[in-house]
């Protein structure tokens, strides 16, 4: 039992039902419908043909894009975890050496609040060939590294890497801010006591700051993993999954199959897989944290 207030059925209904029904109708029901669609063959018009597990069979065993897209989703998650150590270092430096950190923190944070369209199109311009005004290639030419210039987003080996750079660029500020808040919440008494015992600088960071930051590190990890699933919009805006499907992730594959190829049943099978994938990732993350906490205590 949570509450203490006794209220009539009608009052309860007025407070709960509008929101709950709305939410169930537009979040839960669609997921169930999507699971149902994944067992049919349908192109939006005409009859839906029930095909059993055929869509899943094709998806898991014959689709040449599918498994690479799953691996790429994981790859982006792992790559975005790189943000966290950088953010921790910067957060510690900020709290130690900067008296008024607001300007720096705000400038790190600015990209976080921009739309994925602004970010995606901006970086498309940055990655353009030098002759089309691309910043990176023009820099390389300027510094005499002309042989290093690339068509970054059109290169099937580099495109995914180029995308990860953009993800890091957009979200690093968020992680710095979170870690910085965490560092500031550590009481200065602890450091004073430690310095009397001879623990300063790096030693204090290793034995005091890092352990005390572990709750915020957990938050950053969850955010980075969730954020990498959101890389979806960025990929749609920047590469559309190309070149030659080398930047497809699970969600883009689902989107293009559904809305570009009109394979509604097949797209829904991918979408069902995506829901399960997200739930499994959440459970795994939680288990990992639990184990880490037990190991630490």
């Amino acid at each position: 039992m949570n509450g203490v207030l006794r209220v009539g059925k009608w009052t309860l209904a007025v407070f709960v039902l509008p929101c709950l029904l709305f939410y169930l109708a537009f979040v839960f029901a669609p997921i169930l419908v999507s699971v149902y669609y994944s067992f049919v063959e349908w192109a939006g018009m005409g009859a839906q043909k029930f095909v059993g597990f055929e869509n899943f069979k094709v998806l898991l065993t014959q689709d040449p894009i599918f498994w690479p897209s799953v691996l790429r989703t994981l790859y982006i998650s792992v790559a975005s975890l790189l943000q966290i150590p950088i953010a921790i270092v910067v957060a510690i430096l900020l709290s130690r050496y900067v008296r008024r950190p607001n300007f720096l923190v705000s400038s790190y944070f600015l990209p976080v609040i921009l739309s994925v369209v602004v970010i995606g199109q901006l970086w498309k311009s940055i990655y353009n060939p030098a002759s089309l005004g691309g910043m990176i290639n023009q820099m390389l030419v300027k510094f005499g590294l002309e042989s290093w210039t690339r068509t970054w987003l059109a290169d099937s080996e580099l495109a995914i890497f180029a995308l990860c750079v953009v993800i890091l660029w957009q979200f690093i500020g968020y992680h710095v801010l979170i870690q910085f808040t965490g560092v500031q919440n550590i009481s200065t008494d602890i450091y004073e006591a430690a310095s009397i015992d001879g623990a300063d600088g790096f030693k204090a960071d290793r034995y005091i700051t890092l352990p005390l930051l572990s709750p915020v590190i957990k938050i950053s990890t969850v955010l980075a993993v969730i954020g990498s699933l959101k890389a979806f919009d960025l990929i749609v805006v920047m590469t559309g999954g190309g070149p030659a499907n080398t930047t497809e992730v699970i969600s883009t594959h689902m989107y293009f199959m559904t809305f570009n190829s009109f394979k509604y049943g097949y797209g829904s099978a991918i979408s069902t897989f995506l829901v399960i994938f997200c739930l499994v990732m959440t459970v795994l993350l939680n288990m990992a944290f639990k184990r880490a906490e037990e190991a630490a205590s």
């Binding site: 509450g3 537009f26 669609p30 997921i31 400038s107 602004v118």
Partner: protein
């Protein structure tokens, strides 16, 4: 020893400045880019100020891009989403944390599962539902999913805060004969303004910037929100680099202005949202 310390200080500043330059330079570059002519952009001077500030780019973007229309649409859609999200989540959070009833925890759990559901998975079913409701390609077709997907985190933040309010306040109001609606709107609502600010900021940032749902459910140019309109504009004017830059600057402008005014509140709200999410 002292030298060593100042060396370390200098090193720290170098690291922090490099990050600041990496974060800000692309945006400054975009600003300069948006004032240049095409020939200047392609000439390879990535660092230079424009020789002449070309305001033409901005008037191109303004006149051919329906900028004000998109802004109006975004304000309307975001505004309605915010109001509905806050009213819905406020009432249900209150019921979850305060009322004596059997299913409070279950309802909470149902909302928490929503945090993990990827929004993309609902796009096709929602499209079919909206087609049958005959609201595809209207603002309702994007406001509905926006509200639905803003609810879980809002419920989470608001109910977390409400749990910390002592119940004596309401009990004494009850004794004084106030009914539950008076208590909710007159007493509770003023107390929960800070977490409502957090919810507002988180929802504003994600809805104002949302692209995929708008691009999937809308097709009329006159209905497009700013991110969607921006992307269509860039797709149409692929060779007019300066105008693209100008439109991107204009697209970023509203949220950047809001950020300059409320930067402290926004960073605090985003951290609070992250910590609680």
């Amino acid at each position: 020893m002292k030298d060593f310390r100042s060396l370390r200080r200098a090193g720290a500043w170098v690291v922090m400045s490099i990050l600041a330059v990496t974060q800000l330079y692309p945006l400054v570059w975009l600003l300069l880019y948006s004032f240049k002519t095409n020939s200047e952009i392609t000439s390879g001077q990535f660092f230079a100020l424009p020789k002449e500030w070309v305001w033409q780019n901005y008037s191109d973007a303004f006149t051919s891009g329906n900028y004000l229309k998109y802004i109006g649409n975004s304000i309307f859609v975001t505004g309605v989403t915010l109001v509905l999200t806050i009213v819905f989540s406020g009432m249900v959070s209150y019921a979850i944390t305060r009322f004596k009833w059997r299913y409070g925890n279950l309802v909470m759990l149902v909302f928490m599962i929503g945090i993990m559901i990827p929004i993309q998975s609902t796009l096709l079913p929602l499209m079919v539902i909206f087609k049958n409701m005959d609201i595809l390609n209207t603002h309702a077709s994007i406001i509905i999913p926006y509200v639905a997907f803003s609810l879980p985190i809002a419920v989470f933040i608001l109910s977390g805060f409400m749990r910390s309010i002592p119940t004596e306040i309401e009990e004494s109001a009850m004794i004084d004969g106030a009914n539950i609606y008076r208590i909710f709107f007159g007493i509770i609502l003023p107390i929960i303004v800070p977490p409502i600010m957090t919810v507002t900021i988180l929802t504003f940032i994600s809805i104002w910037n949302e692209y995929i749902i708008a691009a999937t459910f809308l097709s009329s140019d006159s209905l497009k929100t700013l991110p969607f309109g921006l992307n269509s504009f860039v797709g149409q004017y692929t060779a007019n680099y300066g105008a693209i830059g100008a439109f991107l600057v204009l697209g970023a402008l509203p949220v950047v202005i809001v950020y300059f005014i409320l930067s402290d509140k926004i960073t605090k709200g985003m951290v609070a949202g992250a910590v609680k999410g």
